[in-house]
């Protein structure tokens, strides 16, 4: 984070760059769209609950995509649901991020061959920032995925688009 950590003798002054400040603010309060799709959503709820405590990373569920920064696609994306997910994503204000949680939303999971109703990966409809593998991933894995996303945001640049 650079200068933001270093305090001067006068308590009220912190020196940093605008970029670092924006990135720090963004990665420290990733509000997520409050929605879940399948069994992964149970693990996501467990991650939000007191034991794993998503809130210590600044992640709290918001009931509206208009107030959210990150969408955690937690579960099987059916073709019927894919259109709704795309709409939810489009309703979110920029900057917005996507975590694909679990095998189903990564690549179709167990439905990859015979799932006539399943989209084989949510990245076919919306761009994904972090893929969390597992079926379903444990809360630790989701936290790891979130920290990966935070790392990504930390290295973002206002003028240069990150990969």
């Amino acid at each position: 984070m650079g200068f933001l950590d270093k305090q001067f003798s006068d308590d009220n002054i912190v020196i940093t760059t605008a970029e670092d400040l924006f990135n720090w603010a963004r990665l420290s309060s990733l509000w997520q769209v409050s929605f879940g799709l399948a069994c992964c959503a149970i693990e996501m709820m467990a991650t939000s609950a007191s034991h794993y405590d998503f809130d210590r990373f600044g992640v709290i569920p918001r009931p509206s995509p208009r107030q959210s920064d990150v969408i955690i696609v937690s579960g099987t994306v059916t073709l019927k649901m894919a259109l709704r997910i795309k709409r939810l994503y489009e309703q979110m204000p920029d900057p917005k991020y996507v975590i694909s949680m679990g095998s189903c939303s990564n690549c179709g999971g167990p439905y990859w061959e015979h799932g006539y109703h399943v989209l084989k990966g949510v990245d076919r409809v919306i761009p994904v920032d972090v893929y969390v593998p597992g079926c379903p991933p444990r809360p630790e894995a989701l936290l790891e995925g979130l920290m990966k996303l935070q790392e990504k945001i930390r290295n973002e640049s206002v003028v240069k688009k990150s990969a």
Binding site: L79, K80, H117, K120, R124
Partner: protein, 176 residues
């Protein structure tokens, strides 16, 4: 409490040749085959008769028997023509503690079965599912729409044995 055979005899007495046969083998539970265009009346009788009192429809499922003529296609899939589809009814009387299984067979090309949704209300959604996935038309059903697949799904009924999934749905690639 009545056995399937006793129930079969009662039905045979009332509906005679519309009740087709009773099949009982040691390996499976016995079932009664009924004409698909009288099943509504039969079910009303089974529910309302004092000696039967089948007040609960435990399950209603559609089956693709895939017993028609199978023709292999160049892409490895098959198409089936002729043969039958069937609907299976599992009934239970919670009063008299007996159960019975009914089956109806209907031609694959024009699958029509009477709806029993006004006999047991739960049959409404079960029949919508059988319509959605197998493609059985339930006559006199109040609201025969797809229940699981999207309303605008055009590729047919997914649990048919010769079903082919589409390449694209609303611009999304469907195969892996």
């Amino acid at each position: 409490m009545k056995t399937s055979e006793e129930i079969y005899n009662l039905l045979k007495e009332k509906f005679n040749n519309k009740i087709i046969e009773l099949t009982s083998a040691a390996s499976v539970e016995p079932f009664i085959v009924v004409d698909p265009l009288i099943i509504h009346e039969v079910c009303f009788y089974l529910r309302d008769d004092n000696d039967l009192q089948f007040n609960s429809l435990m399950n209603l499922s559609g089956v693709d028997n895939a017993n028609g003529e199978k023709k292999p296609e160049v892409d490895g899939s098959i198409t089936i023509s002729g043969g039958t589809l069937s609907v299976v009814y599992h009934l239970e009387s919670t009063e008299l503690k007996h159960k019975v299984i009914l089956k109806v067979f209907t031609p694959r090309e024009n699958p029509e079965v009477q709806s029993v949704s006004d006999v047991w209300r739960c049959a409404d959604w079960h029949e919508r599912e059988a319509y959605d996935l197998i493609g059985i038309n339930f006559l006199n059903h109040p609201d025969l729409r797809r229940i699981l697949m999207p309303y605008d799904w055009e590729a047919g009924h997914p649990l048919r044995k010769d079903y082919k999934n589409p390449e694209f749905y609303h611009g999304m690639k469907v195969p892996y």
